[in-house]
């Protein structure tokens, strides 16, 4: 099977994630969409690794997963903090930082 298919799926997954990040307002859903984007990228990495026949891309995919785990930790921590402050769980309402 041509690598183009893998890349197409990867691009679709990535774009769906990006679309979710841009359109959704709930921070939990935004985190999920970010996860989608990362995994879209991971798919492309693994596909490239396969194409070249070595493990470099897979190692990079493992690194991305680690980063994703860290990012989720921080993101969920922030959501809990927002909840504790009794602030709205809505990124559009959290816009004090503006010019």
């Amino acid at each position: 099977m041509s690598i183009a298919w893998y890349l197409a799926v990867s691009a679709i997954v990535f774009s769906l994630g990006a679309l979710g990040v841009i359109t959704r307002r709930n921070p939990l859903v935004i985190l999920l969409c970010l996860e989608l984007m990362l995994n879209g990228a991971n798919l492309a990495l693994v596909a490239f690794a396969r194409m070249w026949g070595n493990g470099d891309g897979q190692i990079l995919a493992l690194v991305v997963m680690t980063v994703a785990a860290c990012e989720v930790c921080i993101g969920l921590g922030m959501i809990v903090a927002i909840y504790r402050q009794r602030l709205p769980i809505d990124v559009d309402d959290l816009r004090e930082l503006q010019g």
């Binding site: 841009i22 359109t23 959704r24 559009d92 959290l94 816009r95 930082l97």
Partner: protein
Amino acid sequence: MSTTTYGWLVLLFPLLGTLLIAFGFRSLPARLVGWIGTGAIVLAFLAALATLISLEGHSPAQRQLVSSLWSYASTVGVNGQMSILVDPLSVYMILVVTGISALIHLYSVAYMDEDRGLARFFSYLNFFVFSMLLLVLAGNFLLLIVGWAFVGAASYLLISFWYRRTTATRAGIKAFVINVVGDVGLVLGTYFIFTHTGTLDFLQTFHATQAGAFNGSHGDLVAGCILLLVGAFAKSAQIPLHTWLPDAMEGPTPVSALIHAATMVTAGVYLIARMHPLFERAPAAQDVGAVVGASTLLIAGTIALVQTDIKRVIAYSTMSQIGYMIMGVSVGAYAAGLFHLMTHAFFKALLFMAAGSVIGAMAGEQSLQKMGGFRKAMPFTYACFIIGGLALSGVPPFSGFFSKDEILLIAGERGGWHWALYVVGYLGAFLTAIYTFRMIFRAFHGEPVSEARELEGGHLHHADVPRNPASGEAEDLDVGFPGPTHAIAERALPMRLAMIVLAVGATGIGLVQIPKVDFVIDDFLRPSFASSPLYELHTNTGLLVFGLLLGTALGLAGIAIAYRIWVARPGTAAAIQARTQSLYELLVHKWYFDEAIELLVVRPAVASGRFARYTFERLVIDETIIGGTTGLVRAGSAAVRAAQSGFVRYYAALLVLGVTAVGFYFLLQS
């Protein structure tokens, strides 16, 4: 100790005096301050004497000693050493400066006794002496300029000493500004010389000049010398930069005696004498100096005829006498000019001190119109005035007789158009006798005024409300002014002592150099002028005798005329004034120099300043450059600020769009 070590000591003592008084005045008793100041200058005088004795121990060819303490400013092409030049000329100057200064400090101890600013006064005065000594001892142009600027600053501080008098502060500013014009001239002149000789050191400059540093660029040498002359004219109150000197009489009388008669104003004479190897190669500059000196001596003499402020009469007389000296050193009469510098320092300081005593008796009043008949009340001051006046008028055997006639003799010896200088000089001598004795007769002869009667009765007059003699405004008693009680020489021993020494000097100092008899000054100064072809002129005995007789006759005739006008027939002055009204107006307005400078320099400067302030600065600077820049930044930041909405999703969208755009760009490129 070596000769130059004594030279450094001469500089050290006044500096120490300044610092001690300036930093210690809170803990020092008020009375002690004056004696510390005086003591510092006396020590400097003793060190100067030691320098003289030590210098005399060298053979005449080795009497130009340079000593450098450290490298003051050394960089590519410029080597400014902290160096002094001890040679007969500088030793002569330090002797005059420290000697006269010591006496004037002594006088000030009594004269300024009641002043609240006594410590300030003595620290300024010591600072002045230090600066003046630095000026005359400087071994290179750099230190000369430093000393030159320092004496200007000291002069400013002392003219404005009674700083609550608006007239005094204005006079101080005027003196400072005009002196800065001279400083600029000096610095630019130094530049012109330095570019060709490549050295700041005096002796090396002279050697380089003799070796032909100015060959092919004679114009630069003339320009440099004329710029040096601008400095000399400003410092020595020569036309047209003289208007500050009469106004400087706002300062305390000892200051007038020290700075504006005996020492600082002679700096220009010293400068021309010191730079003689340059000036002799630039005869055009010499001629400028001689003509300006001659016109100053005549114009100042005529103005002095009609002034009514006793100190201003003496101030114009000072200008006139410095005109003689400038003329003298410009025509090559170096020893004569410097000799006149010394005799003038004696009799002019004496005249100022005596005038201070009269002003004390008048409780601060300085107008000759209110004075009269002090002869019986103040016999000592009167005697000093007569001695000073005779010396100034050039009556033998007083000192002015020998020195002035020698200058004019050498001017005559040069021949050609220098005969005009000779005639102007003797005309000036005639005027000198008239205005000097006009002042004496008006202050001391005639009907005694009430102050004089009071003093004869044994009581010194005090004004009910002390007033500024120049403007009539009441004095501020809190910050120091001549004092509610005044000092007169008859009652203050230090003043009397100083005046006695000066009176003896004014009488007898002329005897050190009598034509054809002794040549102390000539011989002493010869090593400094070894390279000058003008120094040894063949003396024409006939002309010499003629000059001496003419000088005596003119001096006596002037005194006789003054006696006739102001004593024998008291109404004569008014009658002459009525007949020559327009001439009188010209002289009372000081030949309209102030008005001319106001019109030609001050008004255009003020107008351009106003244009710059209200038109140029407002439109170009404020609105275009500054307003334009801030407007640009403000508009730019408003645009950027609009992008920062605070919506995280919006940022994310922009990021995605941006990355996509970059990706597309590279795709299309490949």
